[in-house]
Structure formats: structure tokens, C-alpha cells
Amino acid sequence: MRDEDERKVLEKELKRWEETTLREALASHPERRKEFMTTSSRPVKRLYTPLDLARKAGGERLGEPGEFPFTRGIHPTMYRGRLWTMRMFAGYGSAEDTNRRFKYLISHGETGLSVAFDMPTLYGYDTDEPEAKGEFGTCGVAVSSPDDMKILFRGIDVGGVSTSMTINSPASAIWAMYLVMAEDRGVPWTKLRGTIQNDILKEYQAQKEWIYPPEPSMRLVVDTFEFGSKQVPGWNTISISGYHIREAGATAAQELAFTLANGMEYVRWGIDRGLKVDEFAPRLSFFFNAHNDLFEELAKYRAARRIWAREMRDTFGAKKPRSWLLRFHTQTAGVSLTAQQPEINIVRTTIQALAAVLGGTQSLHTNAYDEAYQVPNEKAARIALRTQQILAHESGVANTADPFGGSYFLEALTDELEEDAYRYFDRIGDLGGVIPAIRKGFFQQEIANSAYRYQREVEDKDRTIVGVNDFVVDEQTEVEPLRVTEASFKAQVDRLRKLRRTRDAKKYARALDRLRKACEADDNTMPFILDAVRAKATLGEICDVMREVFGVWEEPLLY
């Protein structure tokens, strides 16, 4: 009753303002545009007031930091306790090249490692295979064998630092190489911390780096859940990723909805395997994009935490609060970087990183300004890291939890994004679930539509991109090139051939044979992959076995 009275008072007050102060202002100073919209083409109103907050606003909507539904953050003290992990995605050329870059970034204050692999590695090919032609080390590091993995982490304290690896279809093989590398160095698996991306669903939807069809791929993912929860308890066996969905053109709402729908699909597969949700859910982690629109991004992170907590507790019956937490990594939006006037990308990245921090991210990668041209050079990567350090130590935003919480605009946007996500969950459900929707091309079409609409808005100047369709200068850009050397390629190929020549052929053949049988049966594949790695099998050889057993995926083509 009192709420209703209060509402009437507010409505009356708003109406008064609109008819007096606002009307006069508009009469003398019309607004710049007829409609205002976010980066995702979401309409934005002139003003948000308490009237825009959901009627059901209250404890279950916000909660306190560190408490259900975690809208305000997963830790009670947030960054007052510990800053986010500054984790720069890095990789190019050979394992030696990237090892040097890792050490460079650590020496400049990064606090976690993140490996970017090259295309052949991402597709499960060795550097010297014909499919790998021209792709060695260009957009990440080539890791074809356990020997490469050893060199990649040489001189780095793998028991002390956490390592994230962006690897999907061949994730279990690459993870096995990391585990064997630690084993050889005498670091117990229980001491290891890190993440494999291992999110195959978004590959079919957006990133398009797959090998096998969905069902066997999902089986491999669940194998890592099961194995990890028992043997490598500090490891996140998946990073459920909206990043690539967004980069491929999705809106913020689509990124949110598709990522969480995928998350729930993994939970279902885990439960179907017979795993207890509280055994594996605490090791599920997430990965989101940070695009240009500060408030929309912030709202997305907050809505994501709230939806996940609710679904895990109420739909999947998770009992451990740890299972309800949506922990996430953020990367600033690569797709927002311009080739024109590349230095101004530093400013874009700063705004995006600010959104991630205000949104309570657990770790962050900031893009370098030269990335519309190439994998970043050293200096560009260092400036990107410095951007995070300035946010952490100079801006003051890390001093309090959820600084924008309670903003009428932000709370309204958080509610809107949440509602959009549930509408998408219903549509995906109507299509029979995530995998049937992939087969029908649903996600792919939704994303392509959004990408095209965005581009049209840029073309029609409904959207200003500084330096691209306005504020253009005619100048030669100067970006110091980063080149992968022929010597790196040759060293890598030589190492690979030597490994094949010198390994114990019988042990190797036996290990691959056992792996094949495990794939054909329904054993957990992880122990067999580990044995293959111990027998010096290469990535391409392990993936070839699986290609033969599982087949390869071809997507329904549309645009």
C-alpha cells in the first residue's frame, strides 16, 4: 500500500518535471538525436528514476557483496581484499618466443599467465602438417608436442602462477601436456591453478574453431570435469565464453543469454554423466567481453551473476554457495579496435577495462592498441598492462564494491538484460536445446544479423566510430611490426621431427592404441591422453586418433 502511494508521488513528480523544466529546455535546446541507443542498439531513455526499478526489487535482486544472488560481486570485500588478476593473453611464434614474452610481462607486473595458441594448434594439427601451411605462430604460439610445452614454461613457477589456456577442441590434449610438464618438474597437480577454455559450444556458435561433432566433443569436456574434480582440484576445467560470441557480432544481451545457456548445457551434461553438481560446478568459470558501452557492459556482468546463482541453486539444486558463484575473466573488445589512428585504441581499452572492473571481474586482459594489425608488439602490450595498473592503483575504482550499484539506470539495465536472457532461454528451449539450435543455425543467424545491423549503423552514420566514419585524418599509420621468424619455424619443425625419431616407438604405438580403444568405448579419455603425452605423442597424432573415431564437424552455412 505504502509502495503504491510512493509510486504515485514519484509519477506525479516526474510528470511535473516533464511538463515544466524539461519541456522548456527541449523547446530552446532540442536533443542531439531523435533516439539514443547503446552499442547493442538498445534504446536508452532520457532519464531513469526509481520508477524504472523492477517491482520485485529487494534482497533477491541485489543482496550484499559475497551473498546470494551476488549481483554486487562474489567477494564481500571485492578488490579491497585482492585485486583482479592481470592476465595478458600472449603468444606468437615458437615456445621460446612466447616464453620470452611471458617473462617480459611478468617482469612488468602481470599476475597471471594466458596462452594464445596458433591456428594449427587450435585445430589439433602439428606445425609440419600441410594443413598448417602459413599459419605457424602468426596469431599465437605453436605447441605441437610435450617438448614445446616444456619450453613454453621454462623458468616460470607453475606451482605459483595461475595459467589460462585458450584451447577448445584439443583442450584435453593440451591440458595433458601441461599436467605432464608439471609432473616432470615435480610440481604436484594439487598445487596447479589455471583454466582451460574448453568451451566447444561457443565454437559452433561463433568462434568456428572446432574439430569433432558436438556429442563426442561434449563427452571430452565432461571427461575433463570428472578428471579435474578428482585429480586437479584447483583447475577450472572450462571457461564458458561469451567473448567470442560478442566478437562475432552479438549484442550484449545475446552474449549474456547464449553464454549462460551454454553454461547450463554443460551442467546438464555433467549431471547426466552421473556427477554431483556440487562436485564440478565450483570449477566452472566464465569469460566475457568488455565493449565500449560502459553501463550496458556493467549491467551484463551483474545480470550474469544473478541469473547463474539463481539457476544453480534453484534449477540444478546446487547446495554449496561456491557452486552458485559466477567467476569470470574479461577481455576488452578486440572488435572495437580501429586500424585508423590506432593510438586512440588505448582510450577505448581504458573505458572497456573500467567496465570490467566496475563489473567485478576476477581477471582481465587489456588489448594492445596495435591489434587491428597484428599480435601486439612488446611496447603496445606493456601499455595495455599499464592501463590495468592505473585503474587498480590510481583511479580509486577498486576501493569499494559495486560502486554503481543502486544507480537507477544501471539497475534498470541489469533487469532488462536479465529479462532478455530469459526470453532467449525460452527460444532455445523451444528449438530443443543448445545443440539442436546449433544444428539449425539459430545462434549463428542471430549473431550474423546483429553483426550486419551494427555495420549498417556505422555505414549510415547512425553510429559514430571515431577515426573511422568521423574525425578522420589522412595519415600513414605507424605501427612497429612484429614478425614471426623463419628461424623460429625451422627450430620448431626440427624439434618435432627429432621427437618423432627418438621416442620409444613401441610405447608410443601402445599408448595411441589404448587411447583409440578408450575413445571407441566410453571410458574417461583423460588418463589415456596423459599416457599418450608421456609416450611423446604429438598434438596432431592424438587429435588424428580422435578425428578417426569421432569424425569431423561441418557447419550449416549461412550469412
Binding site: C139, E203, E209, E247, G249, Q374, A448, Y452, Q455, E459
Partner: protein
């Protein structure tokens, strides 16, 4: 028109947007290999363009299809553009290229064929 992604790179946002813009401009666009095309647009964001784009040109010439116009787009350092042109790639459309520029290039190629 054929819009294609050579090599392994999966990033297909740009290729799809360009394909759709060409289709909206009234061109017939294929996203898979077909027999008879006037022009081929190659998209690569993985850094393999220096190997793959000239390779496509070379193979077309070898099959006596050297009159097919080959253009490229994607993440391509400026230093590479003149080298690609020398290798027979007719134009390179880097990030931020307006769709209208790409469409009008293809329209001209279409008339020329």
C-alpha cells in the same frame, strides 16, 4: 562472387558481413566453391595472408583462371599490402573499410568481366 576463408582461421564475421552487403547490392554471392565466379574475396584474420592469398592467385593462374579478380581483407599490416598487390591480389580491404567501397569495387569487377 565468391567469399572465402582460406586456411584454418575461423573468424568469419567480416566475411559474412561483406557477403551480405554484396547480396543486398544485387550480386550473386557464394560462400562455397563453385565453378564460375568473376571475383574472389579472401578473408584472413590469423596472419597467414602472406602465404595463403598469393597461393590462391598462383593456383588460379595454374588452372587458367587468372582472369578471376582476387581481393583480400582482414588483419593485414600495411607493410604487407604492396607485397600482396605485387603477388596479384588486386585490392586489400583493411579494418574499417566502408562496405560501400567494397561493393563498388565488386560492381566494377563484375562489369569488367
Amino acid at each position: 562472387m565468391l567469399i572465402a576463408k582460406p586456411g584454418l582461421d575461423g573468424h568469419d564475421r567480416g566475411a559474412k558481413v561483406v557477403a551480405r552487403a554484396l547480396r543486398d547490392a544485387g550480386m550473386e554471392v557464394e560462400a562455397a566453391i563453385q565453378e564460375d565466379v568473376d571475383a574472389i574475396g579472401l578473408s584472413s584474420l590469423s596472419g597467414a595472408h602472406m602465404t595463403l592469398f598469393p597461393e590462391v592467385v598462383r593456383l588460379l593462374k595454374k588452372r587458367k583462371s587468372g582472369d578471376i579478380v582476387v581481393v583480400g581483407g582482414g588483419i593485414i599490416p600495411e607493410d604487407d599490402v604492396p607485397k600482396l598487390k605485387r603477388a596479384g591480389v588486386k585490392a586489400v580491404f583493411g579494418p574499417g573499410t566502408p562496405l560501400s567501397v567494397i561493393v563498388s569495387f565488386f560492381e566494377k569487377a563484375d562489369k569488367g568481366a
